[in-house]
């Protein structure tokens, strides 16, 4: 399976260049009828710019994000992130999918990409059944992927304009309707031009993802189409009337190809987060570290894309006399402890530096479940080594 964009010109790293390629003509787009409580555009986020104070952003539930793209046939190079801001990964056997090629995805420029958009010819061949060849190349992080919608608590309605499309909704299990008829969740669904797509409220979990073939082709900012609510970068959250341009349609035969992982089985009833101790565990009283490891917390309703806030558990008390910590770099999954002692697990929109001590770090693999843990869900932190000094 070859990429549908032909010889992408040497990828321009400039976000402003990429932003010139919005709105394919003639094109397809969604118009937002109801935006839901909080719906944003997300892809794999921004890399290589943390030293400028720019957060990573990107989809919080990586497996659900990738699965949605897989179901509609989107792969590396579709309207996704990483327009050459980062260099291709030096090490590792990943060839031929340099993120730089994403800059070649000027919607409308890939002649091959606009072919094959003959709806309703998908007879037979369930599009989601392709076992696929692991387009992600075995990487553990979020693979490059097309921009999708991340809907927090659903509640979204969109009208498709300008052509038919494949969509798939993944993540938190949520009822989906097209023109008032229930359609499958976590499966490719053909939507005709003019149809109304409605996403209800999740029956469990928090965030669902709507992918469309060709991806959402909003302008890139610093290499990514992601909305960053903390830094105020990228597109605004969705509002009624927002027009969302789509990338070139995918060929039917690419649907379901390149599956590189499956989504969570179900949102967690109890959230278990492994915790690698350090670097600042020695800022805390040993007794409260011991309590942290054996007492559950709950997910606070104040949680957001910046962090999963924990509450209803033992406060982590700082040792006296240490003063203030100078600001230091923060990572995804860092468990920062503000003065009230209630841990915050940093998610994708986390600030790049922070001045509260980090007691430990939750591995990225555990954060998809964190993104789907509804307020009130019990949370246990499981230290992978002894926490107390």
């Amino acid at each position: 399976m070859t990429e549908h964009q032909g010889g992408s010109a040497s990828g321009s790293a400039s976000g402003s260049v990429a932003s010139g390629s919005v709105a394919p003509v003639p094109g397809r787009w969604f118009v937002v009828v109801r935006p839901g409580p909080l719906t944003t555009i997300q892809d794999t986020g921004r890399r290589g710019v943390a030293a400028l104070g720019v957060p990573r952003a990107g989809a919080l539930d990586g497996p659900a994000f990738r699965w949605a793209n897989t179901l509609v046939g989107n792969r590396d190079g579709d309207a996704g992130g990483h327009a050459g801001v980062v260099a291709a990964q030096a090490a590792g056997g990943r060839t031929g999918d340099s993120p730089d090629t994403a800059a070649g995805s000027h919607p409308g420029s890939g002649a091959g990409g606009s072919l094959g958009d003959s709806p309703d010819t998908a007879a037979g061949g369930h599009p989601g059944s392709g076992a696929g060849g692991r387009a992600g190349g075995g990487r553990t992080g979020i693979a490059p992927g097309a921009a999708v919608l991340e809907a927090t608590f659903g509640g979204l309605a969109l009208r498709l304009v300008g052509g038919a499309a494949w969509i798939a909704v993944t993540g938190a299990p949520t009822p989906v309707h097209v023109d008032g008829r229930a359609v499958a969740f976590s499966a490719p669904v053909r939507v005709r031009e003019g149809a109304l797509v409605e996403i209800g409220r999740p029956v469990a979990g928090v965030r669902c993802y709507l992918a469309v073939d060709g991806g959402f082709a909003v302008p890139r900012v610093l290499g990514s189409r992601s909305t960053d609510l903390l830094a105020g970068l990228g597109p605004d959250q969705l509002h009624a009337g927002t027009r969302l341009p789509l990338g070139p349609p995918r060929r039917l035969d690419s649907l379901g190809q390149g599956a590189d992982g499956s989504p969570l089985a179900a949102p967690p009833r109890e959230l278990l987060l492994r915790l690698t101790p350090g670097p600042r565990r020695d800022w805390f009283e040993p007794e409260s570290l011991a309590a942290l490891a054996r007492t559950p917390y709950r997910v606070s309703p104040a949680s957001n894309r910046i962090g999963l806030r924990l509450t209803d558990g033992p406060p982590l008390r700082r040792l006296a006399g240490l003063g203030e910590l100078p600001s230091e770099g923060m990572v995804l999954g860092a468990v920062q402890v503000p003065p009230d002692g209630m841990p915050v697990v940093f998610l994708a929109d986390h600030p790049t530096t922070g001045g509260y001590p980090v007691v430990g770090v939750v591995p990225e693999a555990d954060l998809a479940a964190a993104a789907q843990a509804a307020p009130g869900t019990p949370v246990r932190l499981l230290p992978t080594a002894r926490l107390e000094p």
């Binding site: 932003s19 104070g53 030096a90 090490a91 350090g278 100078p326 530096t353 591995p363």
Partner: protein
């Protein structure tokens, strides 16, 4: 710091600069993956996005053997920032320095600064270069909105607000030079290592 990052701690901001420079060289030499992120801060350099345990172990060994040395603080690119010293807090800062507002402006403009690190918001740079005895406290009550381009001091740091935001630093002036523009390449003019001079100008002369 977790399975994919290391946080290296040193004792001075000059050592942060020196360590960062050495890590950049190490990355350019291919000993660190090209997509590893180096994030300097006040007393630390975060190395994030390590590929595997091997890269992490090898870096940890290199860091343990790293000897603090005088960094090349005088060789970064020099950026001149035309500045009107008209900030609302200039009289208060001048009083803390025991100077008139005009002399305080001259004193500040006489320093050569250096971007130590960025944080707080995209493009917000923490500049070192103010002598330690000129350190000033933050405002007791932060402003809910500080205009973009405001030149401000807090502690021994100087900063320029890249975009409108809340802020607790003492405002001493403003510039119309756009230090941050996400649509421009490069988006940030104040990147770690950049040397900076604030050039006093009168109102209307700060444009480029």
């Amino acid at each position: 710091m977790g399975p994919r990052a290391l946080l290296a701690e040193v004792t001075t901001d000059d050592q942060v600069s020196a360590l960062l420079a050495d890590l950049v060289l190490r990355q350019q030499a291919g000993a660190l993956g090209a997509d590893v992120e180096l994030v300097p801060a006040a007393r630390t350099v975060l190395v994030d996005g390590l590929a595997d345990a091997r890269e992490r172990t090898s870096l940890a060994a290199w860091l343990a053997a790293w000897e603090p040395h005088a960094g090349d603080t005088g060789t970064g690119p020099l950026l001149e920032v035309p500045t009107v010293y008209d900030g609302e807090d200039l009289p208060e800062v001048a009083a803390l320095w025991g100077l008139s507002p005009a002399d305080a402006a001259r004193r500040h403009a006489a320093c050569e600064f250096r971007v130590a690190f960025c944080g707080f918001s995209p493009g917000f740079a923490y500049l070192t270069g103010l002598p330690a005895d000129l350190a000033v406290p933050r405002r007791a009550t932060p402003r809910t909105r500080v205009p973009a381009g405001s030149v401000a001091v807090a502690g021994a740091y100087t900063g320029v607000y890249p975009s409108p935001s809340p802020g607790g630093w003492q405002l001493i002036g403003h510039t119309t030079l756009r230090l941050w523009d996400e649509q421009r390449t490069p988006a940030a003019l104040l990147t770690p290592g950049t040397r900076v001079r604030f050039v006093p100008v009168t109102e209307g002369a700060t444009g480029r």
